[in-house]
């Protein structure tokens, strides 16, 4: 059997196991007392949910509400993983998962449903493996595609509540708009580095503010976890809080007078702090939720354009850039040059090319190969600057050639342009395409990739 055939067989067997587990659960659920009384839940479910059911806030009625509830989790990453785990554990009857990404090793420090064994498999599939093992009772619905203006309504209309666990403003606006149109609340959270934010929107549906009421215009340049970094437990806390807010929304009757919207801010560093802020009510004339505003059909809204397609920055011509393999032969040839690394000192400290020294006292100085000088001047020093930083100007005054390196090959293009405009090294300045990541991926001897 080929690997593909084995994988196919394997996935069929997994489906069969799931089917049998569900059947078994329903047979057990239909347990009947000797006198013919039918229990509201399966006997296994009483044991499983007992610890939360004995709380007066939950009780049997609350547990049945959870079982009847249908919750959609959009994004099975750092927020969606813990959120889905707690919802499944609590016995939410139907849980839908939307994500089109595959699991990467760099996800595993925070995305707790995925594992080393599921790297490379779709996140939705990986999450379902975990969730079914955790609790076979709920119905899990995989939506293994990207949420878009053309499919959002069709997906949302089968759910009572949506958890926004995404990582981009364009999706956050889309989720909010689709939730308003399908009349369901949104539990929205986000996290970056050591901070988190949580807010419940469109709650109760038709009354609470939507995402557009709070944030009418998107930020010019949002930072992702991949770029800015994220501490696992920070995003974990926020995902757990989303599950908590979802459970409350599902079991509590809708209030007759809606409470004002509250945003919870969490900061983990240096001191642990939660802060609760009173937010505005619905915005009159809000294009997302005001009944008075005639809105464009969802499918005709360009969310990516609204949020500003990812900044193009400077784009160099192909001949102004060299592939890592070309730069490698420059190093091997012994041609004198300077390698300018524009990553920040933290990233420079994780790994850098041999022969480097750093312009920062906090970094350890390395030996300097005679023909090669590597300088670390973070991009920050260049950003928004009208002239070259003094250190760079001085350091490059005698350079015969300069190669510029960053993490992914974006910042380095901007710096290359600045150096060329300033006439550095007689214009002999090149950008190393794809940054240190591409260098790592093509290094035959191996190089850290982060």
């Amino acid at each position: 059997m080929s690997a593909a055939e084995l994988e196919g067989e394997n996935s069929l067997l997994k489906q069969r196991i799931q089917q049998l587990e569900t059947e078994l659960a329903s047979v057990q659920a239909a347990a009947v007392e000797p006198d013919g009384q039918k229990w509201a839940l399966g006997l296994d479910e009483y044991r499983r949910y007992g610890r939360q059911m004995i709380m007066p806030e939950i009780g049997l009625e609350g547990q049945l509400r959870l079982k009847r509830a249908r919750v959609l989790v959009v994004g099975v990453g750092g927020l969606g993983c813990p959120a889905a785990a707690y919802l499944a554990g609590a016995g939410v009857g139907t849980i839908g998962l939307v994500d089109h990404d595959v699991v990467e090793a760099s996800n595993l420090h925070r995305q707790i449903l995925h594992s080393t064994a599921t790297v490379g498999t779709p996140k939705v599939e990986s999450a379902l493996l975990y969730l079914r093992r955790l609790n076979p009772h709920p119905t899990y619905i995989p939506h293994d595609f990207a949420l878009s203006p053309s499919n959002a309504i069709a997906v949302f209309q089968n759910y009572d509540l949506v958890l926004d666990c995404t990582d981009h403003p364009s999706l956050r606006y889309l989720i909010s708009d689709a939730a308003v149109l399908t009349n369901i609340p949104v539990v929205s959270a986000s996290a970056l580095r050591k901070d988190g934010q949580l807010i419940v929107l469109n709650s109760p549906p038709g009354h609470g503010p939507c995402y557009r009421c709070i944030w009418p215009r998107p930020p010019p340049s949002p930072t992702s976890c991949a770029d800015g970094g994220i501490l696992g437990p920070v995003v974990g806390v926020m995902g757990v809080l989303q599950a908590l807010e979802a459970i409350k929304l599902l079991i509590l009757p809708a209030p007759s007078t809606p409470a004002p919207a509250t945003m919870t801010l969490f900061s983990a560093w240096p001191r642990l702090a939660f802060r609760h802020c009173r937010m505005r009510a619905r915005r009159t004339g809000c294009p997302g939720c005001s009944p008075a505003v005639e809105r464009t059909a969802l499918a005709d809204t360009d969310y990516v354009a609204f949020c500003g397609a990812d900044a193009e920055g400077v784009r160099l011509a192909p001949e102004e850039r060299v592939a890592p393999v070309e730069y490698r032969s420059v190093r091997e040839s012994g041609a004198p040059h300077v390698l300018l690394d524009v990553r920040d000192p933290t990233q420079f400290g994780i790994c850098h090319l041999r022969g480097s020294w750093s312009g920062f006292p906090s970094c350890v100085c390395m030996c300097v190969v005679p023909v090669l000088t590597c300088v670390d001047v973070p991009f920050e020093e260049f950003e928004g600057a009208s002239a070259l930083p003094a250190l760079v100007k001085e350091g490059l005054s005698t350079a015969e050639a300069v190669y510029v390196l960053c993490r992914l090959g974006n910042d380095s293009q901007i710096v290359t342009r600045m150096l060329k405009d300033a006439g550095v090294a007689g214009g002999h300045v090149w950008d190393v395409r794809g940054g240190i990541r591409e260098w790592a991926r093509t290094a035959p001897e191996g190089f850290p990739e982060y």
């Binding site: 750092g78 986000s190 970056l192 930020p219 010019p220 949002p222 937010m279 505005r280 950003e383």
Partner: protein, 104 residues
């Protein structure tokens, strides 16, 4: 000149524009240059002139007001509930500037 003691805080990454310090205890002039009581609008320009890292100012303000995606909270209330930039500062006020996060 009379001043108002207030606490200004930055979070969500904005602190990086303010010496990487989250909390700043400030004495703000009680009146703006035209003699009107100091309000949030004046505070924002005061921060631009005195506290923000000059070359990264554009990450804090745009077209004379705080940039899109930054929430302003006056004593833990959305500034839109308090009159936005026209809110007049009172002693011991806590003004929090939060950058909206998108990661997840």
């Amino acid at each position: 000149m009379a001043t108002i003691p207030i606490t200004v805080e930055f979070s969500g990454g904005l602190e990086l524009l303010f010496s990487n310090q989250r909390t700043h205890k400030l004495q703000i002039p009680a009146q703006d240059p035209s003699g009107n009581p100091a309000n949030i609008g004046f505070l924002v320009s005061y921060l631009c002139d005195n506290l923000v890292e000059a070359k990264r100012k554009d990450l804090f303000v745009m077209d004379g007001t705080v940039r899109n995606g930054i929430l302003v909270l006056i004593n833990d209330s959305d500034w839109e509930l308090e009159g936005e930039d026209r809110y007049e500062l009172q002693g011991a006020d806590n003004i929090l500037f939060v950058s909206t996060l998108h990661g997840g």
